[in-house]
Each structure stands twice: as C-alpha cells, then as structure tokens.
C-alpha cells in the first residue's frame, strides 16, 4: 500500500512530458494500453478525444473516464570529442484526462473532454554544454472540448466539437556560448508566458460495416499559441551599451500541429479485439521558434526548427480474460518530426518504439479501474543542431543523445 501512495505522490508533481516533438500521446488508459489506438474502438468515453463520432455507439447512457499518468523521462547527452556530458533532471510530468459523454437520444450523444495532448518538460543542468540553446523548458497546454456525436445510420456516425486551449510556457537559455558578467556568471534569458489561449476543432467519422468491424477517421485542427505578452527576463548581463539586455515584453508563437488519424478495429473469438491506427501529425507548420522582443534595442531571436510531417503506426490487442479483468497490450512506432541538422536539445527526439500494456478491473457493472503503462525506447543517436549562429557564423551543437521514458498511469471509468 505504501508503494501505491508513492505512486500517487509522484503523479501529483506538476509539469508534463514531450513526445514526438512536444506531442504527448497519453489520452486514455484503455487506449494507451493498446498502443494508443482508439479511432475505431467503441469502448469508453475516451472517444471524446480519439473519435467523437463513436460516442453515439456507446452502450451506456452515461460514460465518465478520468485518469492521470506519471511521466518519468530523461535524456543523456555526450560529446566524445570534448568529453562533455549532461543528464536531464526533468520534473515528473502528470498529463491527465477527464471525459464524459451522455446519450441524449438514440441518434445523438453529447460529451465533454479535458485533456493535455501537448507538453514538454526538460531540465538540463544550468550552463551545460548546450546551455546557449536551452537550460530548461516547461510547456503545458490544456484542451477543453465540448462534443456532439450523431448517428446517421446503424453503420455510420459523425461527431466533433470546438477545442479551447489554454497554455503556459517557460523557457530559459544562456544568451550565447560565452557572454558573462564581470564575475564570469553566464548571461541568460527567461521567456515566460501564461494563460495563452486559442480555439481549434475536431471532427470524426465512424463506420461499422459489421458487428465486429469498425473503421474510424478523425482530424484535429492546428492550433497556434500566440504569446503576445510574454515576459523576457535577463540575468547576469554586463554593464555595457554593447549588451543592452533589459527586461521587456516579448511575443512568440508555438504551433500545436493538426493531426489526422485513420484506423480499424476487429473483434474476434468473442473475447479478443485487435486495433490498428495510423496518425499523421502535420509538424511542418513548426518552421521556426522566433522571439520578438518589444524593446527595439534587442535583436530578435530566430531559431529554425524545420520540422517535417511525421507518422505514427499503432497496434493494440484486448483480451477480456474474465468478467473482472480485461487485459491489453500494444506497440507503436513513433516517427520523429525532427530533421537532420535541426536536433535541438529542448525537444531531443529521435524515432522511438513504444511498448504498452494495461488492464481494466471491473469492480462492478458501473465502476472500473484502468491502469496502463508505456515504455518508450529510443536508440542512441548522433545528432546536431546546425542553425545556431554567432556573429552570422554557424556554430553547430552536436553530440550523442539517448532518451527514455516510462509512464505508468491509473484511472477510473464510471458508466450507467
């Protein structure tokens, strides 16, 4: 029982994890346990996120699911030419979700979802070898999504809704590789923006050609977080007109890219369900992270990202073992949107393989406990960020990276 308490405490820690860029694919325990498939799974109110069209096909009138994850994720970096070594000490992330749906009529269901599909939390040791690119970053975005789902026929439904996003970002880096004050303290800047909001939408369609086969498709729109009133705070700045860094407002925008998912699920041998999803995330919108300082004496900061669109393929399997236990397992391959030469240490992501598992415990007809885990495996990778310039000359930052993430989670489902 003590261990359970420990787990719960860990999950209470704030902040979030990055994933495939800064996408955090942790939007439901049942789905995550099956490789984060779900666009064609008619199982729970997790459909609010995965495919609103399916809500109207749920058997129960009221479906509520909620849960949270503890993200234990770290990165190591080394440069074998110089012997530089760094290990992140990132705070534990706690993405969460809360979904509800209600069958209003035979042909319509409504729902509401609150979830956290984007986030990042990376903290290197201050003044590490890549500190001119990032010391630490925390990005968190909460999506709130009212939803409606219509049954067109017994084999076809559609659904969707608007999305309201509120996000925060805090980013710290050193101003250059060498600038210090008189005592040798590295000059640094912190950009902090809170309560940045915007709107987006989601829509999906679901087809059930037979009792056992379900096909789904879902699209979530791009949402750009425009931080117009961010605070830029400078520290350890030399007293010189040559370094005119004073605290100022800044604006920057961070895109949360659109995502298209298509998938299929198939029930077989009574107790088994297999699912396959394909995601395409339209990361090419993330060309550059530009910080525009309001103070005209300060040179704006341009940081090329040049992300490319990236795909994820997901497989999941569910086995209703007993009346009490449902077991799940899955796998996915997550393609990194980062291109060669643009591997920035604030989102140090190469391609990864995700291994998932989990179970549901039916405590009663109405009440379930859901548990899942994810182990995200990365190969070690030689990478560089070549788009950092000093006095107009490129100063590439390169080295070896290795990341890993372990994500256990716990949640509940209530239905009636």
């Amino acid at each position: 029982m003590k261990k359970l308490v420990l787990l719960a405490v860990c999950m209470l820690a704030s902040a979030m994890m990055y994933a495939g860029g800064y996408r955090v694919s942790l939007q439901g325990h049942k789905s995550l346990a099956m490789g984060h498939t779900g666009v064609a799974l008619i199982d729970s109110s997790e459909l609010v996120f995965f495919n609103p069209a399916g809500l109207v096909f749920l058997e129960d009138k009221l479906n509520v699911s909620g849960g949270a994850f503890g993200v234990f994720s770290d990165v190591v970096y080394q440069n074998e030419t110089t012997g530089a070594f760094a290990q992140t000490d990132s705070p534990t992330g706690t993405p969460f979700y809360l979904y509800g749906s209600y069958q209003v009529t035979d042909w319509m269901a409504v729902g509401l979802g609150v979830y956290t599909p984007y986030g990042s939390s990376v903290a290197y040791e201050d003044d590490w070898a890549g500190s001119h690119l990032v010391n630490n970053i925390e990005l968190a975005a909460i999506f709130i999504q009212p939803t409606v789902s219509f049954k067109i026929s017994d084999v076809l439904s559609v659904g969707g809704g608007p999305i309201y996003v509120t996000g925060n970002v805090n980013f710290n880096r050193n101003l250059s590789r060498t600038l210090t004050d008189l005592e040798g303290n590295r000059s640094e800047v912190t950009i902090d923006a809170t309560g940045v909001t915007n709107w987006g939408w989601t829509a999906g369609v679901m087809v059930r050609p037979s009792e056992n086969l379900t096909i789904g498709a879902n699209y979530r729109s791009e949402i750009i977080l425009n931080a117009d009133e961010a605070d830029a705070t400078f520290e350890n700045i030399p007293n010189s007109p040559l370094t005119p860094f004073v605290d100022t407002k800044a604006s920057a925008s961070l895109p949360l890219p659109a995502e298209m998912t298509v998938g299929v699920s198939y029930k077989f041998c009574k107790k088994w369900t297999a699912a396959f999803d394909y995601n395409r995330a339209f990361w090419d919108v993330y060309e550059s992270l530009d910080i525009d300082f309001e103070n005209p004496n300060l040179t704006d900061s341009f940081n090329a990202r040049n992300y490319k669109n990236a795909s994820t393929v997901r497989f999941g399997l569910e086995y209703k073992a007993t009346k009490m236990f449902t077991l799940r397992a899955g796998y996915y391959f997550d393609e990194s949107p980062v291109q060669g030469g643009f591997f920035a240490p604030e989102t140090p992501r190469n391609d990864s393989n995700g291994y998932t598992g989990g179970l549901t415990v039916n405590l009663s007809d109405r009440f379930q406990i859901d548990a899942s885990f994810l182990y995200l495996h990365f190969k070690e990778v030689d990478a560089s960020y070549d788009a950092y310039f000093e006095n107009g000359v490129a100063a590439p930052f390169s080295g070896k990276y290795k990341s890993s993430a372990f994500v256990p989670g716990l949640g509940v489902t209530y239905k009636m």
């Binding site: 030419t81 030399p238 548990a371 256990p408």
Partner: protein, 530 residues
C-alpha cells in the same frame, strides 16, 4: 484486489529503475578516455604570464581558471586523473596587486564604450584585494610567474617580498615563493612532477619589443645580473637557464612538453596601429592642418635636400593616409647641420636650433616600422612635456603648441616605435632561443609545440572553429586579450588543444580536446559613471 495494485506499483517501480537512459559507452565511464603511456598524476606547469593565465593586462581569477595548464588539467581529469591541479589564485576578478595595502599593478582592462560611442579598453575600477605580503603556501601545479624571463626562474630571491619595491623580485612569485631565497624552478621541482610543461623565454625579447626597443640587446653579455628590465637576453644565458630548468624538472624522471617562442611582432600590440595612422579621411582636424603643415615643413625639406637626405622630407597628404613622423635613433644625427642650413636659409637661430634638434634623427614611418598599441592614444595629441620644454626656451605658446604634436610635428619617441634594426635584434634572439628549445626537446625526448608557427597561422590566415575564425585582430579577432599581448581564454584553449593533440599522438593517449568556441574572449563593461 490489493495484490493487483501491488503488482502495478511494483511494475512501476521496476520501470523507474530502468528508466534512466544510458549510453552503450558513456564518456564518464572509466576507460572511455585514457592517458596512454603518460603519467599525468602530478602535472606541473612552469613558465611566465602565458602559463599563469594572465590576460587583459592583469592576473585575475577567471583568467587563471582559463590558463592553458588548467584547461589541460581539466581534460586530464576526464581521462581519469584524480589529483587536483592547484593554482596560486588571486583574491578577486579585478587583478590589481597590493604591496602592504598600496596598489602596485593595475586592474584588468575591459572594453568600455566611451562618450563618443566607440569602444576601447579601460582599466576596470575597483579596490583590489590581493596583497603580495599575505603569502600562499605552495607548491602549486601552476608555477607560471608573470613577467619572468628565462634566467629569472633560476634566480634565488626572485620571490623575496623585500626585493619587490626595488625591482629585484617579482610580486607574483613573492605571493607563493617557498622562501625569500627560493627559485621558481626549485619550487616547481620540489613538487616532484610526473609530467611538466615549460614555456619560458618570451619576456627575454618581449619586454624589449613592447618598450619600443628602449632596452639594450645584451647578446654577448653573459651576466644577466647586469641586464636592465627591457634588455634582450643573450642566447647563451637563455640556453644555460633553459637547460638547467629542464634538468631540474626531469630529475625525477618526468616527461614533458615545451613550447617555443612566437614572433612577438605578430601580436596585436604591434600590428594594430598602422604606420600611416594619420588619416585625412577620418580626422578632419588633421586634414584642415595639412596645407599649413606642408608649408611649415617646406624650408626643412629644402634643407634635407641640400644635405643630400631628400628621403627624410616631411610631407602630409590632405585627402588620404599619411605616415607618422618618428625618431629613428639609428639615423645619423643631422641636428647641427640642419640648424646651420636653416639659419643660412634665413631662419632665426633660436627657431633653427629647435628644428635642428627636433628633426635631426626624424623620418616618416614606413610599413617596416611597428607602432606599439599605446601610441594609438597619443598620436596627434599635444606632447605636454615637449610643450613645457619649448615654452621654457622662450618659444611663444602658440608656436610651442604647433611644434609639440606627437607624430606630426614632434617625432614619435623611441618607446612608441619598433624600427627595423630593433626588430632584427629581436628576430635574431628569437631564432637563437627557438633553436635551443628544439635541440633540448630532441635531446630529452620532449614534445615540442611550435607556438611560433601556430601564432603565425592565427595572424596570417586565422584558425577556423565551430562558430568563427580565431585571428590576431585586436578586440575582434578572439585570440588576444585587451592588452594586445596575452591570449584570451579562447586563445589559451586553443593552446591547450595543441598540447593535448600532441600528447595523444606521442603517448598513445586519448584525452578529449575542448571546444574553443565555448571559451570567452574579451569582457565588455562600462565602469560606473562612464
């Protein structure tokens, strides 16, 4: 039910343990790097200001931390060397030295933006706290003593505080000398080095050079106790001192690395101020004066022509650059002849005498002359001393002022110009010293770093690194600090890399180098009130 939770929790905890990412081969693992056949367990660096980490005209903590021996030792530590590399750190980042509370050396230079908006070096304000009478207890791994010449390292009493006020001892060594009669090399040897570096001899020519050749070339004089501070050391004296120091350092079987001596005239101290520093395009005051100046010098030029020395004529260009006027003490002194010819030409005797004195050994500078960095602030300025002198001769103030402009009407004095004969003396000594160093390196199986060739490359083409090109350009080049003589931390990092690469080759070692772009160059700072 309880068991289920237990398993989940256990799985989670097992997960946390395996969650820490790890490389297949981590640079921090023992054996990833190694020191080969070299024993680096006790590295002692012997030398002068370059070894101490001197920069910006002073020794200060952050400069010392970026001394090349300290950078090297930091990389040795990555290769498994666990002993600490100790340095006689100053008390502060200001850099000035105190003798019983009185400041005896200046604080470091910083780059400040002046009232005119253009940046230039100024002395950092502040009360320094490093008093040489509060001694440190050595021995230290870094035995670099700013200002030391070759023979100083072997001179007993060079660290005697009592000798500092009279110039008989070195204030930096006085801080950490083991006794009032110890030698620097003796203290270094008593540390029992397992490995050493020696870079000495620069000041044996540099002080002559930076003084504009004020000193004497002592080649042929084998008694260094008779040398003045700005003299060139006799090569035999150098060789004797150098050989003795190597012997002392190697007495316990240590291996080591030696650096030869760069061409001192390629450093920014001598390459920043051009011989034709008077520029009518940018200096309007000067441009306006040119017609008057040329008219004033016309009779003098006629006299030079009459004396068969037309090349000594003084003329200025009103639209372009003009050479400054310098005093060349190697020229035949024509003072008396000039005075007579000018009187013959109708000039009054008093004025003719002054002209004769002033221009008897003068000429226009040529591109073979090297103007020292401090000349930049006095060229075109009134020479107060000469002005007062002329006024005392009874010359009207206005005329005295016109005849006292440094480099225009008052030839630049010896200490501001390194003329070709002086450069030849330096070059001859430099070549002789370097020959000694390479012969002794060969004879003792030591690594020789060709610092002369390396510095020439930095001065001529620059050295490209990730993020720029390291050059000898003053302020902007990155290699040299604001004193124009000593490297920046980035320059020292480059030197450390040269040594590490050579050691890897010689000893079959695998010691990582440093990224020189991560090391700072000059410090920008405006003193309060600037």
């Amino acid at each position: 039910m309880k068991n289920t939770f237990k398993y989940i929790a256990l799985a989670a905890i097992a997960g946390f343990a395996s969650c820490e990412p790890e490389f297949e081969n981590t640079v921090t693992d023992a054996g990833f790097y190694d020191t080969g056949s070299a024993d680096l367990s006790n590295y002692v660096a012997l030398g002068n200001s370059l070894t101490a980490g001197f920069a910006d005209g002073a020794l200060y903590i952050s400069g010392q931390e970026n001394s090349y021996p300290n950078i090297m030792a930091g990389q040795f530590a990555l290769a498994g060397v666990t002993t600490e590399f100790t340095q006689p750190l100053m008390n502060d980042d200001l850099g000035g030295l105190l003798l019983s509370g009185n400041q005896i050396t200046d604080n470091r230079l910083v780059l400040a933006v002046g009232a005119s908006g253009s940046p230039g070096p100024v002395t950092l304000e502040g009360e320094p706290s490093t008093d040489i009478t509060s001694g440190l207890t050595g021995p230290f791994n870094n035995m670099g003593v700013p200002g030391a010449k070759s023979f100083h390292l072997s001179a007993p009493g060079y660290g005697n505080v009592a000798g500092v006020p009279v110039g008989a001892a070195n204030p930096y060594y006085a801080r950490f000398a083991s006794s009032g009669t110890s030698t620097v090399v003796g203290d270094a040897a008593s540390a029992n080095p397992s490995f050493f570096s020696l870079w000495i001899g620069n000041n044996d020519i540099l002080s002559f050079a930076t003084s504009g050749g004020l000193g004497v070339d002592q080649t042929g004089n084998f008694d260094p106790t008779t040398y003045g501070p700005n003299d060139i050391t006799d090569p035999n004296v150098f060789a004797g001192a150098y050989a003795g120091q190597l012997e002392a350092l190697m007495a316990g079987g240590a291996e080591g690395i030696v650096f030869n001596l760069p061409d001192v005239t390629s450093i920014p101290y001598f390459t920043t101020v051009p011989y034709n520093a008077l520029d009518a395009r940018t200096n309007e005051d000067f441009a306006a004066q040119v017609p008057v100046l040329n008219a004033t010098f016309a009779p003098l030029n006629q006299a030079f022509a009459f004396l068969g020395q037309p090349q000594r004529a003084i003329t200025f260009n009103s639209t372009f650059q003009s050479a400054v006027i310098i005093k060349d003490e190697s020229l035949v002194d024509l003072s008396a002849e000039l005075t007579q010819v000018l009187i013959g030409g109708g000039l009054d005797a008093a004025t003719a005498t002054i002209f004769g004195q002033q221009f008897g050994q003068s000429r226009k500078a040529t591109e073979s002359d090297l103007l020292v960095l401090p000349s930049s602030s006095i060229i075109g300025q009134l020479n107060q001393e000469r002005f007062d002198e002329l006024v005392s001769f009874g010359v009207p103030a206005e005329t005295a002022g016109q005849l006292s402009v440094n480099g225009i009407t008052f030839p630049l004095e010896d200490q501001f110009v390194l003329i070709p004969t002086e450069q030849s003396s330096i070059e001859a000594a430099n070549a002789a010293y370097n020959l000694v160093i390479s012969q002794l390196a060969d004879a003792n199986d030591l690594i020789l770093i060709d610092a002369r060739a390396e510095l020439a490359e930095i001065a001529n083409t620059g050295i490209a690194y990730g993020g720029g090109v390291l050059t000898s350009e003053y302020v902007s080049g990155g290699a040299f600090s604001l004193d124009g003589v000593h490297p920046t931390p980035r320059g020292y990092a480059y030197i450390a890399n040269l040594a590490i690469v050579a050691m890897n080759r010689k000893y079959g070692a695998n010691i990582p180098t440093v990224e020189i772009g991560n090391y700072p160059t000059i410090t920008v700072h405006n003193n309060t009130g600037n």
